[in-house]
């Protein structure tokens, strides 16, 4: 049985597609094309001189150890955000799904952080963890932890990873909860009768059946970690200390808007775009095979 909608008219499908195409063109294709064009030129801030540079901007980037380090930072950060965000959300969803009392209240509370703007989330956490006035850092110091993310790069990276994951948990939670609710109760009951314990039921029934949701969230979370976490980094560490939290997208901003190096910054966004396209293709090709719909 194949589901298929057939349009008899020629223009209706085009008309229906048009608004989305227009938006994608204006907000994606044109800027992306512009970036591609500008990455091939050397130019001053005001665009008064435009000099063709070929692939010079790219060559400069790849001979810069700081840029290569930024790749590593981005990898650690996005894997951290995705793993942390997905696993915590799954655990929360698993328990929230089995709640009997105060269901709505608990769910609302968990979804709440999603309504907070990333920059606000960043500032919120910064106040908790600020080495001189933060409440949590005060506790950490009482426990004997030498907490100072302004100088300790590992702590800084852990902090922004935590904030970014926290911000995304609500979103992941919603999808996991919906996924869990769509798993037929009969399957779980049958397994329980067969003597499968809670843990076993989760791994051999729930987790495989959730795989389409998990896969979708994996793609979304990686893209989130690559791009949407910018305000958090900007509010908390500005890429520091040294370059410990300078992820690729933050470097694009730093070099383009603060450093006014338009060509170099454009080259970086082209590379960033290529990386994300590549990652998404790989995910669809290899990970999706192991997903059962």
């Amino acid at each position: 049985m194949e589901k298929r909608v057939v349009f008899n008219e020629r223009w209706l499908p085009v008309l229906l597609l048009l608004p989305q195409l227009a938006i994608t063109t204006v907000f994606f294709f044109i800027p992306a094309g512009e970036a591609l064009y500008q990455s091939l030129f050397r130019q001053d801030a005001f665009g008064l001189t435009l000099e063709y540079a070929g692939l010079d901007n790219f060559r400069v980037l790849f001979s810069d150890p700081g840029y290569l380090a930024s790749f590593r930072t981005t990898a650690i950060f996005s894997v951290g955000v995705t793993v942390l965000g997905l696993s915590v959300a799954l655990v929360l969803a698993w328990f929230a799904d089995r709640l009997i009392r105060a269901k709505t209240v608990v769910r609302t509370l968990i979804v709440w952080p999603y309504a907070i703007a990333p920059a606000i989330a960043g500032v919120l956490w910064m106040f908790l963890f600020n080495p001189s006035l933060g409440l949590v850092s005060h506790w950490l110091k009482m426990l004997g932890v030498d907490w100072n993310y302004l100088l300790n790069g590992t702590q800084a990276l852990a902090l922004v990873t935590g904030i970014a994951a926290w911000k995304q948990i609500s979103y992941n939670f919603l999808f996991f909860l919906a996924g869990l609710q769509s798993i037929p109760k009969a399957l779980l009951e049958a397994a329980a009768i067969d003597g499968a314990r809670s843990w076993k039921r989760f791994w051999s029934i729930v987790f495989p059946l959730l795989s389409p949701t998990t896969f979708f969230l994996l793609v979304i979370n990686i893209i989130y970690a690559f791009f949407d976490t910018f305000p958090i980094i900007d509010a908390v560490t500005q890429g520091g200390p040294s370059k410990a939290t300078e992820i690729l997208v933050y470097k694009v901003y730093n070099d383009g808007f603060k450093g006014l190096d338009i060509g170099g910054s454009a080259a970086q966004s082209v590379i960033l775009m290529a990386v994300v396209i590549l990652l998404t293709v790989v995910q669809f090709r290899h990970v999706e095979r192991r997903v059962s719909y």
């Binding site: 801030a45 008064l48 001189s132 006035l133 100088l151 200390p241 040294s242 808007f257 603060k258 450093g259």
Partner: protein, 436 residues
């Protein structure tokens, strides 16, 4: 019929609004927040009330970086504001964008305004003047580096609160006492790249970059890795290690450590005076920066920070006349004196300084003249300031390298050498792009 009516109404509206808006509007984009924002609006209102031909409209565009980026984007879209406030590190970028800007000296001359560059404080105006002696931008809010200290904490540590450390060795000794006797973290600094390297070099009369710190040409290269600077950064690293220096961040975050009482000494901008006055619940003093007595020529002068007003190209001629009138208005001694006293920025004219002195302001507000005195000495080619392309990036590189030193990951010499090498790559790129 309906369409025709609408057109007529629109036309009538247009005619009416041109009639009532006879004054030429002048857009002024700036980055001033809080009380400074109020002060900027206040200045515009005063000017608008003083005449009816022109109307200055200030608009806040975010922090310095964002304001500059907004101005650039507007210029590229062919809709620049007439006046754009640009921070001092953006000066070289603006100067080398010849088609984008209109030198202030030219604007004044074309408008027939009386303009004498000599009335401005040389150390301030000199920074914004081209090699040919033409004033390119209007110095608006200039600050410089000063030293703040907590007098109560000094007393507690058994130190004389009327004697702030004059030299770095004295500061180290005081720091130890503050820690051992009063149990207070002694020291912190705002804007480390500006205060501890740029201003430090000028104050000790050594070059930050060749070609007179970039004033002499685009082929300037960084040289701030001399033994004196390495020694200084090594000393600061030792302070971090023995707990007498607490690092607070790259910009002005550290002053919070000072006014909350966590740190007893803080170096930063003279324009932080207002914030410190407002927040500190102890008596504090303002003093000149300490120096190394063995360095020849120290103490010289400190260098300026803050921002200046640039006139952008691409506006109707009538607006430039208004801009010139506005700059004349801003240069008035009473306006400048008031600006200086209420904000902590330097007065930009000597007359404003004299006026403030005569009014007895400095007696009532001890410390407020420290910044001015640090600036009114005769500058040398090494101390006039730092004017380099991509200076924001060079500062960022320095911040990154210094953070590696504070964290104990890099030796001071290694970090400064690395900062020089990385910064020079930026300078080479800037030279290539600016093409000369």
């Amino acid at each position: 019929m309906g369409f025709k009516n609408l057109t007529l109404t629109l036309l009538a509206c247009g005619a009416l609004s041109t009639a009532s808006q006879a004054a030429t509007t002048i857009q002024w984009w700036h980055a001033m927040t809080g009380p400074l924002n109020d002060k900027v609006n206040d200045l515009a209102n005063k000017f608008n009330a003083s005449q009816s031909e022109y109307k200055v409209v200030p608009a806040f565009k975010g922090n310095y970086d964002e304001t500059l980026a907004a101005g650039i984007a507007a210029f590229r879209a062919k809709e620049p504001p007439a006046i754009l406030q640009v921070f001092e590190v953006g000066t070289a970028t603006m100067m080398n964008s010849k088609g984008a800007i209109r030198p202030v000296a030219t604007v004044m001359k074309e408008a027939g305004e009386k303009f004498d560059p000599r009335i401005y404080i040389p150390a301030v105006a000199g920074y914004y003047t081209s090699a040919k002696g033409e004033m390119l931008s209007f110095p608006f809010n200039s600050s410089t580096t000063v030293f703040y200290y907590n007098k109560d904490a000094f007393k507690k540590a058994g130190l004389d609160p009327s004697k702030p450390p004059k030299t770095w060795p004295e500061l180290f000794a005081d720091a130890k006492k503050l820690k051992d006797v009063a149990h207070i973290t002694a020291f912190t600094t705002d804007w480390q790249a500006w205060v501890q390297v740029e201003s430090f070099s000028a104050y000790h009369n050594t070059l930050y970059a060749t070609k007179d710190n970039g004033f002499g040409g685009l082929d300037a290269r960084l040289v701030f890795n001399t033994p004196l600077e390495v020694q200084h950064i090594t000393n600061l690293q030792k302070m971090i290690q023995d707990g007498t220096f607490s690092y607070g961040g790259r910009k002005s975050e550290s002053q919070a450590k000072f006014f909350t009482g966590e740190c007893a000494m803080c170096m930063g901008s003279s324009s932080s005076l207002a914030a410190i006055r407002q927040n500190a619940k102890f008596s504090f003093g303002v003093a000149p920066l300490p120096y190394y007595p063995e360095a020849k020529g120290a103490p010289q002068n400190t260098i300026i920070g803050g921002a200046s007003l640039w006139v952008m190209n691409g506006r109707p001629a009538a607006e430039y006349k208004g801009v010139a009138k506005f700059f004349t208005f801003l240069s008035r001694p009473e306006i400048q004196a008031d600006w200086h006293q209420s904000t902590g920025y330097l007065p930009i004219t000597l007359a404003a300084y004299e006026l403030t002195k005569q009014s007895g302001y400095y007696e009532k507000n001890p410390g407020a003249d420290v910044s001015v005195q640090a600036m009114v000495v005769k500058v040398t080619n090494k101390s006039r300031g730092v004017r380099l392309g991509y200076l924001p990036q060079i500062r960022m590189i320095l911040d990154e390298e210094l953070e590696a030193v504070w964290a104990g990951k890099k030796a001071p010499k290694e970090a400064l050498d690395e900062a020089v090498a990385r910064g020079n790559e930026q300078l080479e790129r800037f030279q290539k792009i600016s093409g000369s």
